[in-house]
């Protein structure tokens, strides 16, 4: 969320990804120069059963695990459904497209261009992060979860 408007794309695989596949995809993208910000979207995999008679009991799920992207460890809390990317310029989009064409061989995917990330801080963001929050980080994580974005430095 900066003043300059950078192009954004969304990778939508036709199947939802396993953590291993998501790890391979994200590592492939992490090696691409020109990606500014990246966001993983999908239905949540809660740690505890959220509703019903078993509410509050542990919810073991094989897809809720930590993956390693470049030098960073990311604890997945969702089943990876889409990956939203903000890139420096449109040439990077073509590079991402060609990489994804080679990556998704078992099932198809869509690469959509548009505005997918938050463009202005909401009231909740203001309440959580205050007036001096780093605007490039707002909107990357759920403000209610208390989690911070992960920094990936592919060169190190």
């Amino acid at each position: 969320m900066t003043n300059a408007t950078f192009p954004q794309v969304r990778i939508v695989p036709i199947r939802m990804l396993k953590p291993e596949t998501a790890e391979r995809l994200l590592n492939m993208l992490a090696g691409t120069a020109g990606i500014r910000r990246m966001m993983i979207h999908g239905p949540g995999l809660p740690r505890l059963v959220p509703y019903g008679p078993a509410r509050g009991s542990p919810n073991p799920h094989s897809d809720r695990k930590a993956i390693r992207v470049a030098d960073a460890e990311i604890a997945l809390r969702v089943q990876v459904g889409t990956v939203v990317l903000e890139v420096e310029d449109t040439s990077t989009i073509e590079e991402i497209r060609s990489l994804c064409d080679d990556f998704f061989v078992e099932f198809p995917y869509l690469l959509q261009e548009g505005r997918f990330m938050k463009s202005a801080p909401t009231l909740v963001d203001y309440a959580k992060y205050g007036p001096d929050a780093d605007r490039s980080l707002v909107g990357l994580t759920d403000p209610r979860s208390g989690e911070k974005p992960v920094f990936i430095r592919p060169d190190q």
């Binding site: 695989p13 939802m16 809660p46 019903g52 008679p53 919810n59």
Partner: protein, 254 residues
Amino acid sequence: MAYKPQYGPGTSIVAENRRKQMNPNQKLEKVRSVTDEDIVLILGHRAPGSAYPTAHPPLAEQQEPDCPMRKLVKPTDGAKAGDRVRYIQFADSMFNAPCQPYQRTYTEMYRFRGIDPGTLSGRQIVECRERDLEKYAKDLVETELLDPARTGIRGATVHGHSLRLAEDGMMFDMLQRNVLGEDGVVKYVKNQIGEPLDRAVSIGKPLDEKWLKAHTTIFHSLVGTAYRDDTEYIEYVQRIHSLRTKYGFMPKEE
């Protein structure tokens, strides 16, 4: 001439399957075999082998009022014994699942007695007396109404009906009640409300794409039969829509 129900309109395979499932004279194909104990484990209402808890004394032991309706309607086994009312709930993926909520309710109303179904967009619950439920649940699980990958037995946290499938073809389940093993067999590792089971319950291999497309009761323009291809169905639905809209104005027949 005796009344002969038509069950539903349509010329497509989906319409044909819907009629087949609803028609109680048509025997549903049995595609897998699950033991009674496994059903009890998945349902999670009582421990296998334990007695059925009761909500009232058996009908034979209590004084029934003199009521013509009670003479007319024979109680089911569960009602006779005074069982509790318990439930089973299904979530069906819109990607060619063999059944779907409205269809389930129609099918059950035609085939089973003493039930109270609840129909929602992505899930369907059916309530009845416990021992009847176990009998009906066995039918619902063993026959062609269920596919281990595209149908989920989910008492709570049912989200998954309209989501994309996972890479292995399983419908998304936040609680991962059923898992596809390396041997290709789907096993329930939690009961329908998400409590871990002492032992995994196997409900067989997922059916292949061709079988699902031929047996589904859901229209889907991308992965199955498109609704707009069944002109008879469209005509029927439009007629109903038109009639019920006009009825709002209380029309008089000329």
